[in-house]
Symmetry: none
Subunit: 191 residues, 2 copies
DNA sequence: GGTTGGACCTGGCGA
DNA sequence: GTCGCCAGGTCCAAC
């Protein structure tokens, strides 16, 4: 298993970067898995939020709720993706539903990565610097196929399922010119 | 016309009471009708809200909207039912639809009373203490029958239509043992 | 005005 | 039967 980090500047037309790139290559040994989640309809739909399972939230993310009044119930978390791009999400506890959620910024991540129901998002952290987080996604493998890889086309991800040695493009997100597609890495498997 | 208030404690398995019982018997003379509404599909369906006709809302309920900013647009209203049980509903003005609604808690009332489309809910208040509200419901009379009465079975309401002097049980909510049914009163008619 | 995000709410379900 | 979690909703303010 390997994880290739891109070193050239990332060109995004969607949002300015809030933090500088960290172009240094991060090895697999330097990162440790935290958790992953298979995305539900509401995680990728119009609700613009990801529900973080409580056990993972309290295990790995900063404390934002302890039942005490006056305790901070929201904060900003930053994650680096495979490209070194930094994603900042608002992280909150919703007492009404007793759930931990990532909100602001999440919908952009879903859109740019082309995530859908059944896909996975995984979270990692730096082994030494536990406050340095990483985020990645893994598309649900098509039935009967082998590896599913990410492909980047001018900043927009597409899914490519390897089927019997041929490359089959998914129907979403909308396709560009497939000849300009460029592979940047395979997905890790936390299972 | 009479209205019998139950004096024994009400046993609910659904939610703890947020306000104490008022077991004293309230006579018909002490209450005055405010308004009633025949329930629509959305009043009893999955929307979990009752639309309060504007004229009644502004006439009888606390002011929650005047178009001014910083004005409270939501509050909590409590109503006593025939059992002395207290029902609290969130009362709001929805500017998007320009309507007054009862939301939180309403679905429980619908379920426990077994209300359906065409049934009636009526609202009353104490003649002296105008801030003390009462709520009741009246099931839509079956075609061609006379009086429709409420029957209570361990905290869950059932409807009983008096048909030619015999008692005919409705199909909803699910029946318990009919021999344990106990009549506690007839419904008032605000028409 | 359409979209995003913030704060709500509720039913279903499993422990 | 009860309770906690969470998937899937709501409204609405801000942008």
């Amino acid at each position: 298993m390997y994880f290739l980090f891109q070193t050239r500047p990332y060109l995004s037309t969607q949002q300015p970067l809030k933090q500088p790139h960290r172009p240094e290559k991060i090895t697999d040994m330097e990162r440790e898995p935290m958790f992953q989640k298979q995305l539900t309809q509401s995680d990728v739909g119009k609700l613009n939020r990801l529900v973080v399972p409580k056990q993972h939230a309290v295990n790995y993310f900063p404390v934002i709720d302890s039942g005490n009044e006056r305790k901070i119930r929201t904060t900003l978390l930053s994650f680096e993706d495979e490209l070194g791009k930094c994603w900042s999400f608002r992280y909150s506890y919703w007492s009404s539903s007793q759930s931990y959620v990532l909100t602001k910024g999440w919908s952009r991540f879903v859109k740019e990565k082309g995530l859908g129901v059944g896909d996975f998002v995984f979270f990692e952290r730096h082994r030494e610097d536990n406050d340095r987080f990483f985020i990645g996604c893994r598309w649900r493998a098509s039935a009967g196929t082998g590896v599913t890889t990410q492909v980047q086309d001018n900043g927009v991800a597409h899914r490519v399922a390897m089927v019997d040695g041929s490359s089959e493009q998914s129907e979403k997100p909308p396709m560009g010119d497939s000849r300009r597609l460029r592979l940047f890495g395979v997905n890790v498997n936390l299972d």
